[in-house]
Subunit: 146 residues, 2 copies
Amino acid sequence: MDPGSIDSIVAERLRLVDQRYTSGRRRLVALLEDAARPETIPELLERAPGLRQSSAYRNLHVLEQVGVVHRIVTSGEHARFELAEDLVGHHHHLICTGCGRVDDFTVPAPLERSLEAALVKAVTGTGFASTSHRLDVIGTCEACQR
Amino acid sequence: MDPGSIDSIVAERLRLVDQRYTSGRRRLVALLEDAARPETIPELLERAPGLRQSSAYRNLHVLEQVGVVHRIVTSGEHARFELAEDLVGHHHHLICTGCGRVDDFTVPAPLERSLEAALVKAVTGTGFASTSHRLDVIGTCEACQR
DNA sequence: CTCAGTGCAAAGGATTTGCATGCCG
DNA sequence: CGGCATGCAAATCCTTTGCACTGAG
């Protein structure tokens, strides 16, 4: 997805709830766009001198509310943030149990389709209304294997 | 799996690290065994008058260390605890975005197998060593749909 | 007896919030 | 101008920990 369109989608979603697409929020979205993987707030702050912690929390929360940002909680450490799937595409995560690092990956489309179909079937009759799924691989990243 | 064997497995695992299978720990395991779904510490405490919060946290941590209990963190709220998969079998979760409730469910074995195979293949070459996977369905539980 | 386990209360750490001020629309 | 956004610091909330005491082996 091209960068410009992400910005306009974000702007539009914010406008719908009478929120402004301020420079601080633009900066956060840009940081997440550049990130190769979901990042914690301390990581984001380090890459963005001048960003205030409380504003980061507040704005990421707003962006999450409008469906632009997704929060991932893997363990006791900091939460991690990434752009929502409708902006960057459906994908999954490799979660390192050693250091908490989270990387993105995708599975072949055919499997993804049969998975989705099977899940819908498995949930039928439970009264649960499914909106999406989450598939993570748990393991150890290269650095933590040594 | 029959109740007695869970107890003996837990006892054995604790013994290996010179820990005792005390009444408090037995109580926690029994509570998790009875639970229909992963529960938070407040939920467990409510069902177990006399259980101390700090002991619950401490003992669940010990039980997690020895691989008997699994901790699930779905959002900012309380963590949820369940018996580990090698005691109760591989399964997945329905996560309600409305109230945070988590229910168990399983998918057909054939799909589970092709999924596992595909994941191994997808991860090959990334340097990541996978040990397991996690598949959750996100949506809204019956109560939260109204 | 000895040492792990437990209770209680206080500490810790991530995240949130109140309030006064700044700034966009 | 009016109201959302921001900074700062204090407050919250879940979870962990120190310490003294109890209990199992």
